[in-house]
């Protein structure tokens, strides 16, 4: 006998099919993103970066070392401030923020020197006995290309650091108290979770817009979204970055300084050898000294005065009694 579908069975099957289709459509609707990935399209709780600075010691705030070898000068600069052991305690998690903004080779001077970065990572592990070191940045150009072509990714990995690429869901909104520009703005926050200490490492560079790009401008690489809009008020945004990020230590590399055509440079002739390494607990003071390497005065960089007025540091680096040294050869 031929099997016929009863009305009841038909209705039941139709309902089941309909529910299946509706469920699939519903899941698709929930996952659908019509606008594509943008760093603004998320709703997360607002976050705030911790203050990673350490107890200041008078007379051990800033050190300036002259020498041609970055590895030697950075070791000396940190030793003058008490050694890496003063800044990193055993087992601590350290985040290093280099300038990996552009997909340029290291020799162009537009990004943090990889040898320098590698040495700081090694010091964190070998003498600081850090539990973990992570390296991160949100570059201007394609992140993978930047970390690769600058040599920063390789240097960090070889020294034992974990390189964290910026992903969309690593950004969270933040608002700077008393800030005018950084309001509900996405920052690269995920890598900072469980971090105990923060070190910024930046080259000294001319910058077409702000005059100079040094340790404070380096924090621009933590901003997400269409951060280029802040170029319209570049000095304010840099001063707000000085308030937003309170690092443990900053290292300013003035070994080869980009004197013109910054921030990207391109020609080796844009660089001038200054053979100077600066380590500082005060980023404003570091940048103020760095200005001299660009043949500028601190007054030529309005963001310094703004940052000082906001309490982020001291422009008059000489008042901090910098510790000086020279390394021959």
């Amino acid at each position: 006998m031929k099997q016929n579908l009863t009305r009841r069975e038909f209705v039941l099957r139709t309902v089941k099919a309909g529910v299946s289709v509706a469920a699939a459509a519903g899941i698709s609707y929930l996952l659908y993103d019509g606008t594509g990935p943008t760093l603004e399209s998320f709703k997360k709780e607002s976050v705030a970066l911790s203050d990673f600075s350490i107890t200041p010691i008078d007379g051990q705030v800033i050190s300036i070392v002259e020498g041609a070898d970055r590895v030697e000068t950075v070791r000396k600069a940190i030793d003058l401030l008490g050694g890496i052991e003063r800044f990193i305690k055993p087992g601590e998690k350290v985040l290093i923020k280099p300038n990996a903004a552009f997909a340029r080779s290291a020799g162009i001077g537009a990004t943090t020197n990889p040898e320098l970065l590698g040495e700081v990572v090694r010091l964190c592990y070998a003498r600081g006995r850090a539990g973990q070191v992570v390296v991160t940045d949100n570059p201007i150009n394609d992140p993978e290309g930047c970390f690769h072509l600058t040599g920063i990714g390789k240097a960090a990995s070889l020294a034992g650091a974990k390189v964290i690429m910026p992903k969309q869901n690593y950004f969270s909104p933040t608002t700077l108290k008393k800030g005018r520009l950084i309001k509900d703005w996405p920052i690269l926050f995920e890598p900072f979770k469980d971090v105990d200490k923060v070190i910024g490492i930046a080259p000294v560079k001319n910058h077409h817009r702000s005059g100079a790009s040094m340790t404070i401008k380096n924090w621009y690489g933590l901003l997400g979204g269409r951060r280029n809009i802040f170029h319209q008020d570049i000095n304010t945004i840099i001063s707000e970055l000085a308030m937003l990020v309170r690092p443990t230590l900053v290292i300013l590399d003035g070994t080869e300084v980009m004197m013109t055509n910054g921030p990207t440079g391109g020609s080796l002739s844009d660089l001038r050898r200054r053979n100077t390494m600066i380590a500082s607990c005060d980023a404003v003071a570091a940048d103020s000294y760095g200005a001299t390497l660009l043949d500028m005065k601190s007054a030529d960089l309005p963001y310094l005065a703004k940052a000082e007025a906001a309490g982020a540091g001291i422009v008059d680096y000489s008042s901090l009694k910098p510790l000086m040294a020279q390394i021959a050869g």
Binding site: L31, G107, G145, S213, P263, T264, L268, D270
Partner: protein, 325 residues
């Protein structure tokens, strides 16, 4: 019969589970894909490349990237304003790598500036003082440094930047520079007439600059051509600009003079050797400005009045000739 019914039901169930499994896989794939954000996927225009200009011994390292006015910042960050203010249209970039050595790579930046004037402006205002011309290269506005080659080609400004200083890359840059106008079919554009208005005597070769906006820190000075001269062993900057008519040239003269006076410049007494001219001492630098017919010109940041005066007279005579044409 019940077993046949059961068979049909089993078959339907299997098919249903397969469909649901496929749908789940699609959903999972969408979720994974949306979790991985690669900016490059959403900011580049794929399809073309610049392989036609690639030298022998090299291969394509990355796909070509294209940036427009909205996205230029994502390539050159703070420098974007310089180009955007100068008529920028788009930028194409690509890297080639040596087949023998992965560390040796070269990147081309092909800026479409819309016109030869615009291209010359961004070229000249960024020119490195140590750049050397290459005798075999036919385009007039070019120079090479230790690791880079820069030139103007039609309405394009081109930068060819090597990862390191190397003879192989230097040779490759020259080959690319020669290939770009021919292989990309870019027509030469020699429509910048102002060069002929500068006297040849005492001119420092290759020192021309074109400021489209904000020349000498004043937003009222636009389309200003400048060149360096050595007069009595002193460096002197001579500048000029062709305006629409005599009225406009006079108006700019007055407004720039007012700007300088408001900012602390002081008149230089007994200076009237040129008609429609002003001379001021601007914190130790001599500034001479004058209008001649539809031309506005002068001397900028001279160190002494004698060499500034000489250079101004030479310029004035050239502009008088030009006005007669």
């Amino acid at each position: 019969m019940p077993s046949k019914h059961k068979q049909i039901k089993t078959a339907e169930s299997v098919i249903s589970f397969c469909i649901l499994f496929i749908l789940s896989g699609v959903a999972a794939g969408v979720f994974v894909k949306q979790s991985h954000y690669c900016r490059r996927d959403f900011s580049v225009s794929l399809g073309e490349d610049l392989s036609v200009v690639m030298p022998v011994g090299f291969k394509i390292m990355d796909e070509m990237e294209t940036y427009d006015a909205e996205t230029l910042y994502e390539k050159i960050n703070g420098k974007a304003e310089l180009y955007l203010e100068s008529g920028f249209k788009d930028l194409k970039c690509q890297r080639f790598v040596s087949q023998n050595n992965q560390e040796l790579w070269i990147e081309i930046f092909l800026y479409d500036m819309g016109s030869a004037r615009n291209a010359f402006s961004v070229y000249s205002t960024q020119k490195r003082p140590d750049g050397q011309t290459v005798s075999a290269f036919t385009l007039p506005h070019h120079y090479q440094t230790n690791n880079a080659f820069y030139f103007v080609c039609g309405g394009f400004y081109v930068e060819i930047i090597a990862s390191v200083q190397s003879q192989e890359l230097s040779n490759a840059a020259r080959v690319i520079a020669v290939n770009i106008p021919t292989q990309l079919n870019i027509k030469e554009d020699r429509t910048i007439d102002e060069f002929e208005l500068f006297a040849d005597e005492a001119l420092v070769a290759g020192s021309y600059k074109l400021f489209l906006k904000n020349a000498f820190g004043y937003n009222g000075l636009t389309d200003i051509f400048a060149a360096q001269y050595r007069v009595d062993n002193e460096a002197v900057t001579v500048f000029l600009s062709k305006r629409s008519d005599e009225t406009e040239a006079s108006a700019i003269l007055k407004s720039y003079y007012t700007f300088m006076i408001k900012n602390g410049a002081e008149d230089i007494e007994d200076f009237d050797f040129l008609e429609n001219s002003k001379a001021v001492d601007f914190y130790g630098s001599i500034e001479i400005i004058f209008s001649k017919g539809s031309f506005f010109g002068g001397i900028h940041q001279a160190e002494n009045i004698v060499s500034a005066r000489k250079a101004a007279i030479i310029l004035s005579e050239k502009l008088t000739e030009a006005n007669k044409k």
